[in-house]
Amino acid sequence: MWSVALKATWKQNFYMMRRYLFNTLSGFITLYIVFALLFHGTRAVGAGTMNLGDTLEGMFAGYVTWMLALMGCTDLAWNITNEAQSGTLEQLCLSPLGYKWVLVFNQSFTFFANFLVVGLITVSMSLTTGQAIHMDLVSVIPVVLAIYVQALGLGFVLAGLALIYKRIQAVFQIVQFALIGFFFVPFDAFPVARYLPLTEGRKLLQEVLMGGIRIWQTQWADLGPMLAATALYIVVGVACFAVAESKARSRGLLGQY
């Protein structure tokens, strides 16, 4: 039953992506253009003026992390809002697997699709900036996955809110930009800040992607907080979502928009 549902969800997502091809492509192009503007703007104003990690490497890794966070965090919540709006949310809740798993299957497709997209944009960004990158997938994928799962944890919280309040698109938009705030946290001065979402992940991504460091060469002092934060945010996110889902069922809100 599980593999059948997973396959059906991937197929459905693929068809939807194909049908909304223009939408999908324009999203990618926009992300690339925003980066190009940021890069050329930074160069024009002078390096260091914009504090996106102080260096081009920092900006590069920060942007890749932000793209992943955007996709992991807000995609999930947008998805629920759209399903509620189109009237399919209740049908998904009728799956004997439970709605949570339907969401997870959806997100598994979105992760692979987004991983490819972010990869393509990263290569384009590398060509634009001349910044060398090390696409060592064995090292890159675990870090990317950790960043994505942390963002997904936040996404589950937002998705839970979306289940109850539905019309909270404005919050999603604020969160999209608020995520950038995590890159500015000076966690060298505040060690506990390593456990904030995305911060340690961004640092490790920079080391792996730009520095060419292998995952097993990184220190446990860096890897540990990232893994702990990943576990923490996904557990808290899923728990919040479960509470919100229960409230939504109790108040009969699943079919409303």
């Binding site: 059906a8 197929k11 459905q12 049908r19 439970g98």
Partner: protein
């Protein structure tokens, strides 16, 4: 043992301003292979009842079992046996084709496209979707959209199916086709189908039994022929003329009839009077004729009203409203 058993179901919705008792101590059961109509005015609690059974709304109390499985304790296990169309055409992805929708919804229910292909094809034929099979739902008429939603629910091959307003917004032909298809499926597959609808003709046409809900309570639960016979013997229409040439209304006839039959209604048609009355005892017709005769009225014709489900439903709900003081 009934396939679906609902006992003492209660659900109250509360917010800061209002408290609405949507379902009050509702109990009923449905046997395997039965096609049952769930009727009621707006806000009667039909959809809440269905959603409580499906687990989409959490009831405050009560017990629900489907195929012997406790729905409240094991919701996912119970969902293996249930499917539903809840908001008609809004239940599907408009950017997917009819076939892709069917395959997807069956898929997340655990039935693969490969395994279900023959049955999906069968449904496509029964619901007359063949030509539209590969058309995106957004490009279909509302009738076809509705049929796709029904096909998605039926494709899961669950023994229990809920159809909430399946013919809403359909033209006469599409409604007829859908009813035909449902009858065929029920006969051939012995599925238990619960139809909630405002369209009494649909329920009268395809269901064996009707459960009428009003103010969150069941006010009638009868086989449809019995429900109709209950009212058919009692509703009379009497055309009355006045023997003396005066208008019937002027001779005090209405007052005399009303004092004996308070629920009688009158319609003046020219100089004639049309009296519609529901009689508790068929023998009362003689009493009524006697009252009319005493007032000098001449009975032109007595017809027993043909009662359909809509009339029976209205009568039951009116009585319930009168009892509840609504």
């Amino acid at each position: 043992m009934s396939f679906l058993a609902v006992t003492g179901l209660c659900k109250t919705f509360r917010d800061k301003k209002n408290t609405v008792e949507a379902v009050k101590d509702l109990s009923f059961s449905v046997e395997e292979g039965e096609m049952v109509g769930l009727l009621g005015p707006n806000g009667a609690g039909k959809t809440t009842t269905i959603k409580c059974i499906l687990g989409l709304v959490r009831p405050d109390s009560g017990q629900i079992t489907v195929g012997g499985v406790d729905c409240r304790r094991y919701p996912n296990l119970a969902l293996r046996d249930m499917a539903a169309v809840l908001e008609g055409a809004r239940n599907t992805y408009w950017r997917l084709t009819a076939w892709e929708n069917i395959a997807y919804f069956a898929g997340i229910h655990g039935l693969s496209e490969k395994k279900g292909k023959d049955y999906f094809e069968y449904l496509v034929d029964v619901l007359r979707l063949r030509e539209k099979k590969n058309t995106e739902v957004r490009n279909l008429s509302s009738g076809f959209k509705q049929k796709v939603a029904v096909a998605c629910a039926l494709a899961k091959r669950t023994p229990l199916v809920f159809l909430d307003e399946p013919t809403l917004g359909l033209d006469v032909e599409s409604s007829y086709e859908l009813r035909e298809a449902l009858r065929k499926l029920q006969t051939e597959e012995r599925r238990t189908i619960i139809v909630s609808s405002h369209d009494m003709h649909v329920v009268q046409d395809i269901c064996q039994r009707a459960i009428i809900v009003s103010h969150g309570r069941i006010v009638a639960d009868e086989a449809i022929p019995q429900l109709l016979s209950l009212f058919a013997t009692r509703q009379y229409k009497i055309a009355v003329a006045d023997g003396s040439g005066r208008r019937v209304g002027q001779s005090g006839t209405q007052e005399a009839v009303t004092s004996a039959f308070p629920q009688a209604s009158f319609k003046q048609v020219g100089d004639a009077l049309e009296v519609t009355v529901s009689l508790a005892d068929p023998g009362d017709i003689y009493c009524l004729v006697e009252i009319l005769r005493e007032r000098g009225a001449v009975v032109d014709a007595i017809t027993r009203e043909e009662v359909d489900l809509e009339k029976a439903f209205l009568e039951i709900v009116r009585r319930e409203n009168a009892t509840c003081g609504a």
